[in-house]
């Protein structure tokens, strides 16, 4: 009953007219940004941070959460219409969504995506509501050693699950931590790596890095590919209606993928992309007509869409209950919360119930907005895909600039943004994943603080990380997660031979 009372309290906050407006604005803006190929949820969220800066934390997070699942929904639209997924989490949607669009069934595919996203989102909010308080009760007993181990696990999981080289992922993570410790050490007041510059005393703002590594680097990358790549003809949308038998056909895949997606999202390192692929492959295996997957099977659209939205919500569990994000996207959300003066973690439910329950309740409303408002608006919103690429690239640049300058009022930060944009481009060209860097940047300081506090408590004894069973288990899982890609590689090689 507690959860129900708390949810009612959350609805009291989420249904305030201003918050309803924020949910709608977030979902709408997220849909548009997510639809633009290349700009994923991380860029969308980073671009929103300056807007949320002066807001009430609950309203700010409500807006950002709307942007997040709006971006995932928007990504599916470009997957279906253009075969150019706006976000990685919707790649699996294009496998059957685009063939459907080519058959003139784009409207149907979009409607299936919207209904499945709605069910996936709603089912996972129910799970979030039930699981999060339980997990936060367990996490209250965590000391600094356990937190340190948890953050190491979060980082290694993100590195090991990225499809790029393990070594390059780890290098990105180490560089991310290096950037995070620039500035004055809060525990001793010692300056580190500031090169005598007063502008670096407060450290490097994560927004500068996030916008540089993701949004600006994406602009540079699109320029290298000839101003946004080749224009793809957009398929006509057609009718959005579904028949009763079609609804019946997708009901099973949607419910299974919703649950699977939620738990994938909870796991550190996994998330919308892995969730959607798992959902897709599970349904392909189960379905009697599995051989028609990839040719425009409606279950092939429904399963990944339900899973990716559910995973989005699932990824809020570690963020809100442990204060440890499990992905690059939730790392940006954590950064935004810290900017607003809220520290997520097990005490958040006690100290800031308005933020937690307000966001949970807003997710129900946001999912309804996605379905009731965004779906009929899709033919209109899709016109954004016709915006000339040169104009789009210049506008993204302006958004990045105003985002950074509006936060810090510093010309130095604008130049740093350029530097990180070029670094992001280099990382992309040489195959270094960006998500571990941004996650490490956010976690770096907290990780160092936890490590030092644990060592201070133990009098400098490093065995403290191994003596505690929870910390030991987390570190062992972290080690195993790093071994996983090596095993996969060896298996692939064995199969090839």
């Amino acid at each position: 009953m507690d959860a129900l009372n708390n949810l009612m309290y959350g609805f009291g906050i989420a249904l305030e007219p201003i918050n309803i407006a924020y949910v709608f604005a977030g979902v709408f803006a997220g849909t548009i940004i997510g639809m633009l190929p290349g700009l994923g949820p991380i860029s969308a969220l980073a671009l929103m941070i300056p807007i949320t800066f002066a807001m009430e934390p609950s309203s700010g997070l409500i807006l950002m959460a709307g942007v997040y699942y709006g971006a995932i929904f928007g990504g599916s639209t470009s997957s279906i219409l253009l075969n150019a997924p706006g976000v990685a989490g919707t790649v699996a949607t294009s496998f059957d969504g685009y063939p459907m669009a080519k058959k003139g069934l784009a409207g149907k595919a979009l409607a299936i995506a919207a209904y499945s996203s709605f069910v996936g989102g709603t089912v996972s909010v129910i799970f979030l509501m039930l699981v999060a308080p339980l997990l936060s009760k367990v996490a209250v007993s965590f000391g600094p050693a356990e937190y340190f181990a948890l953050m190491v696990l979060g980082l290694t999981a993100v590195v090991s699950l990225s499809d790029k080289s393990l070594v390059k992922g780890l290098i990105a993570a180490v560089v991310g931590v290096m950037i995070s410790i620039v500035g004055i050490d809060m525990q001793t007041g010692t300056e580190r790596f500031t090169f005598g510059s007063a502008q670096l005393l407060d450290g490097i703002d994560f927004l500068v890095v996030a916008l540089g590594i993701f949004a600006l680097a994406e602009v540079f990358y699109m320029l290298l590919r000839g101003g946004g790549g080749k224009e793809t003809p957009r398929n006509a949308i057609g009718s959005l209606k579904l028949t009763r038998s079609e609804v019946k056909e997708i009901a099973g895949p949607v419910s299974r993928s919703s649950v699977l997606g939620f738990f994938t999202g909870v796991l550190p390192g996994a998330g919308a992309t892995i969730g959607s692929f798992l959902g897709y492959s599970m349904e392909k295996r189960i379905a009697k007509d599995g051989n028609t997957f990839g040719q425009g099977n409606i279950k092939g659209v429904a399963a990944p869409e339900a899973a990716n939205n559910a995973a989005c919500t699932g990824s809020f569990v570690p963020l809100l209950t442990l204060g440890v994000p499990g992905s690059g996207t939730t790392a940006v959300l954590l950064g935004a919360l810290l900017v607003m003066g809220v520290t997520p973690g097990p005490m958040m439910l006690e100290q800031r119930p308005d933020v937690f329950w307000g966001v949970v309740a807003s997710m129900y409303i946001g999912n309804i907005f996605l379905l009731v408002l965004n779906l009929p608006l899709i033919p209109l919103i899709a016109k954004i895909l016709d915006l000339p690429k040169p104009l789009l690239l210049s506008l993204i640049l302006i958004f990045c600039m105003i985002g950074v300058y509006g936060m810090s009022f510093s010309v130095f930060d604008l130049l740093l943004l350029l530097g990180f944009g070029l670094l992001g481009l280099g990382m992309r060209l040489f195959g270094f994943p960006a998500a571990p860097l941004i996650l490490a940047l956010i976690l770096g300081n907290i990780m160092e603080e936890s490590m030092r506090r644990a060592l201070q408590i133990s009098g400098g004894d490093w065995m403290t990380f191994i003596d505690k069973p929870i910390s030991l288990s987390l570190l062992l899982i972290a080690l195993l997660s790093l071994g996983l890609p090596l095993l996969k590689k060896r298996r692939k090689r064995a199969i090839a031979e």
């Binding site: 580190r192 640049l397 992309r428």
Partner: protein
């Protein structure tokens, strides 16, 4: 001497960076009161970790790089200023110039100039649409930031 592959070049650069980082980590001053862990420990651990990873990268076989092969090959044959890499260099210079001119020119003027200029440079020929869209978006952003969110943005040469 055998030619180094991409990963080996990257590894050498990273190893040099790690060595410089470690040298700086050793110069982090110690805290006057003795404590089990001082400010220099974490940077030292990071420097060593990066050095070890650079060694591992040196011996890793380079895979196909996803991004590099997607560079617009046709455009590389065109005029020098319009080649893909020239576009990146010109955009970077424009951003640097924007950063330096933002305060003296003001947000509206500097941003509109950047937006219109780059859009035209990237090949968009409809100047009226370009100016109208750029100015419209910049003004909308400016008014939202300054009037609604109370964020100060430099006015520069314009009176508002």
């Amino acid at each position: 001497m055998t030619k180094l592959n991409t990963n080996q070049w990257l590894a050498v650069v990273l190893a040099l960076f790690a060595a410089a980082y470690l040298a700086m980590a050793w110069q982090v001053p110690t805290f006057p009161l003795p404590r089990p862990v001082d400010s220099d420990l974490f940077p030292k651990v990071l420097g060593v970790a990066l050095l070890l990873l650079a060694v591992l990268l040196f011996f890793e076989k380079p895979g196909a790089i996803a991004g590099a092969d997607e560079i617009d090959k046709e455009a590389t044959q065109g005029p020098l200023l319009l080649t893909p890499w020239a576009r990146v260099v010109v955009t970077s210079l424009a951003i640097a110039a924007y950063a330096l001119l933002l305060v003296p020119l003001g947000f509206v003027l500097a941003s509109t100039l950047l937006c219109v200029g780059l859009t035209a440079y990237y090949g968009y020929r409809r100047l009226t649409v370009n100016i109208a869209t750029s100015l419209g978006v910049v003004l909308a952003l400016y008014l939202t930031m300054t009037r609604v969110m109370d964020v100060y943005l430099p006015t520069g040469v314009l009176p508002f």
